[in-house]
Amino acid sequence: MSAAETDAPVLKGRGIPGWLPWFLKRLLSGLGAVLASSVIVFMATQALPSDPARVILGPEASEESIHLLQRQLGLDRPVAVQYADWLGRLLRGGLGHSLDSQVPVTDLISARFGNTLVLLGLVALFSIPLSLAIGVALALRRDSRLDRAAVTVLVLLKALPSFALAIGLISLLSTSVFSLLPAVSLLDPERSPLSQLQYLVLPTLTLVLSGLPYLTRLVRGSMIEALEAEYVTLARLRGVPERRVVWRHALPNALIPAIQGIALMLSVLFGGTLIVEVVFTYPGIGSTLNAAVQVRDLPVIQAVVLIVTAGVVAINLVADLLTVLLTPRLRTAGGVRLNVRRTRRVFRDAQNARLVKTHS
């Protein structure tokens, strides 16, 4: 994942964008990360007390039954052999069967991932434009009464744990005050989640409200930073209209921390939102993974972790790519070190995002 040196003139001669080799290297190292995490998770599950056979058979099973099931499930083999077996099956395209429910892992988790993706999509659909609009609006009205009030509300919202928010929303919209929405998201698995939007409103609202303060404050902070930058002052002095200064000069630079922030939020959501899934009984991937860990259902744990890791790597890769494309110095880098990791780390701290001076 380290920085990649590019030889821009040669590449330019061939018509290949300067960032492409960097991207391919990142892609490869991302795959490496996925594989490494699967090894780590496999080892970690071995360290947990008890094993699937005991959990499945319950407290009343005899030792004889337990040993037999351990043998049938292949749990008596060395860890390395078990891992190799799993990897071999994966390469042939199989994820195995759940030790708990005995059904193919693919059947078990595909719908769950679908539900999580739908939720993630809806949250992104609302929280990204909202946070950008509110963040920019507040930055332009910096230190006004509205700005101060809004920041206070955002801080309060951020301080509220998401389960409390969820229960509050249930009381407000489902039970105590109004009765507009179902309290619990009992999705009919035979229909697409998108055709059952009434079940998606409360979980989406909870996640949007709990994610919005972070993103909005990130956008607001970096927008303020950008508006104070020298290039903005220069543009103003040159008589560029204020509207153009805000939208063409300041915003593209202010977007970079927001992209990293959005990537962070989406990565977290993709891994499942356990609390929201529990409060609303929403059939997402978070509760599936949690249950699989509790039950030591190895094939399910491995499959979920594999897909989640791959998803997180992909989300970060896209975010980094967008960062590169939005940063001219990095995009056109001829012999410039493409250290996105460092850039990202620095950007993430919105307070110190002073190096967004790459606009030339």
């Binding site: 007390p49 058979l57 319950g58 099973a61 039954s65 759940s98 078990l108 489902s174 309290a183 039950v295």
Partner: protein, 532 residues
């Protein structure tokens, strides 16, 4: 540590009450449409005639297990509940929690319970239309007892001689017990996990049974959708066209679904939720005085519990009334370190143990354990009892450090190594409970209790079919358990269920299973099925 635990627990309890109260508040203040629906249901409420049609939605909590559909190897309570819908057995539980004939029209045992002759009813059918015969009974018995299946319940019927199951005619089977050892509680042991299935049965690709509902769709960890079995052996039952068994991870969420009209019936409420049902028009609380026992296991193989005086002292430390009040929210009855209070052989004449800290301290002093510090291992279900008991123990100078473990660990290989752990069990007949708990054939004897005389009495008692002949044996066994056993049983708890006013055909029982009798339930607002 336990003070923090206590305050946290009390906070959680208050929070549940407030959260539930908010949700209930909605129930009271609330909302036109659903109240109108509830009103319609109430109007029809007193009409006792069962109606056909509709979908009954049943909410369960099965911890983290997703479970399966296996008739003979159900994992967790969710699988067992689904099994009650899909499979019929030779016996079923009566309202008194004793086995009653179901698919069998006759089950006779000889005088020493060494052979069982079982005759099926006439004209029984599986979901796939196949007639149920003696061959299916033999297949099902062999499958349950097959070592290769590794069923956790196999040892409960391990007395069956697999090589001597005889087919007497198309409907009659004779089962012989191994080596002439009779086994009277066979029906008790068999009834939960003895689904009769055909030889082409497969738990994943062909889960065929003869229960009131057949499986249509199973999403592990989420829900099972079942449809009515038209040729169910009980005439005109079941009543609803569909049954949906929905899994929840959280009690508060499930309660919200019940009062919000998203489920009709929920099994096994938490004791602190009972208050939410007062004056609640959306759902009622059904209290079944079952005799699920609540207790602690004192491990006889570990110090200090290898000394009978310490076991006695711990039983005197327990303030049972307070435990019932605090842990069960009053939903339970006093127990005297014995299980199966409704069994005809129960020994009710022993003096009830009450808290006696002076005597307890004296016993500990005698045993040389004046200052004791132990680790009390608790399951999630037992954690409240552990906290309350630890406080009581402190008053006797005993420090109990609580370690709560997840289910996998609680049932893991260390379970027989802990000094003291929480323990609870189903309220069945005396011999059946002994077989599962601290009797000589138990596979999960956390107490490591093993007593020559007790074991001898057990082996004799399981061969006595006559109750009167069994009474003196069982009484002596209970005397031994009361005196030197490893169980501290402080209460028999109620089973608490939540029922929507839509549901008819349900009433409290002495069994655990009043909400599992799916064939009996009907919906008051059901429209007769329009499908052909």
């Amino acid at each position: 540590m336990s003070t923090t635990d206590r305050s946290r627990r009390e906070f959680l309890r208050a929070a549940t009450a407030v959260g539930g109260g908010l949700i209930l508040g909605g129930g009271l203040l609330g909302c036109g449409e659903r109240d109108a629906a509830a009103g319609t249901a109430t109007a029809a409420a007193k009409d006792p005639t069962p109606r056909h049609g509709g979908r009954l939605r049943f909410g369960i909590i099965d911890g983290d297990l997703s479970g399966n559909l296996d008739a003979h190897k159900p994992a967790g309570i969710g699988s067992t509940i689904r099994g009650f819908a899909i499979y019929s057995k030779l016996w079923e539980w009566s309202e008194e929690m004793t086995p009653r004939l179901a698919l069998a029209e006759e089950a006779e045992t000889n005088a020493d319970a060494t052979t069982w002759t079982i005759r099926l009813r006439k004209g029984l059918e599986f979901h796939n239309g196949k007639t149920i015969t003696a061959d299916d009974v033999i297949f099902s018995t062999l499958r349950l007892t097959d070592p290769e299946l590794a069923s956790p319940y196999r040892h409960l019927v391990s007395g069956i001689d697999r090589s001597r199951i005889e087919k007497l005619d198309e409907r009659t089977v004779r089962i012989n017990m191994k080596e002439g050892h009779g086994f009277l509680p066979l029906a008790d042991a068999w009834v939960n996990f003895g689904g009769i299935v055909p030889p082409d049965y497969h738990p994943v690709i062909n889960p065929v049974g003869a229960g009131p509902y057949r499986i249509k769709d199973f999403k592990p960890g989420q829900r099972a959708l079942l449809t009515r079995f038209e040729n169910y052996y009980k005439p005109s039952k079941p009543y609803t066209d569909e049954l949906e068994i929905i899994e929840f991870k959280d009690q508060t969420s499930r309660y919200a679904a019940l009062v919000g009209g998203q489920v009709d019936l929920v099994y096994g409420l938490a004791p602190e939720q009972t208050a939410l049902f007062r004056n609640n028009p959306r759902a009622s609380l059904q209290v079944s005085e079952a005799h699920r026992w609540q207790g602690f296991s004192l491990n006889l193989k570990k110090t200090p519990f290898d000394d009978v005086r310490v076991r006695q002292a711990f039983r005197l430390i327990a303030d049972r009334e307070e435990l019932i009040r605090r842990v069960l929210n009053g939903q339970g009855r006093l127990a005297n370190d014995l299980y199966s209070p409704r069994d005809p052989t129960f020994l009710a004449t022993l003096p009830q143990r009450h808290q006696d800290l002076d005597r307890a301290k004296a016993l500990l002093r005698e045993a040389g354990h004046e200052r004791l510090s132990l680790e009390l291992v608790a399951s999630a279900a037992g954690s409240a009892a552990a906290v309350a008991f630890a406080e009581q123990a402190r008053r006797a100078g005993v420090e109990l450090k609580i370690r709560q473990v997840d289910l996998a660990t609680f049932n893991g290989p260390q379970m027989r190594d802990w000094q003291i752990s929480t323990y609870e069990g189903m309220g069945e007949s005396y011999l059946s409970t002994a077989a599962r708990t601290d009797g000589p054939i138990s596979a999960s004897n956390r107490t490591n209790f093993s007593d020559e005389r007790f074991d001898e009495l057990f082996r004799t008692a399981v061969q006595r079919t006559d109750v009167q002949a069994r009474v003196p044996l069982a009484h002596e066994m209970q005397q031994i358990q009361h005196e030197r056993g490893g169980l501290l049983i402080w209460a028999y708890s109620n089973v608490l269920d939540g029922v929507s006013p839509r549901v008819g055909g349900i009433s409290p029982e002495h069994s655990h299973f009043s909400t599992w009798r799916f064939e009996n339930f009907w919906l008051r607002d059901a429209q007769p099925a329009t499908t052909a």
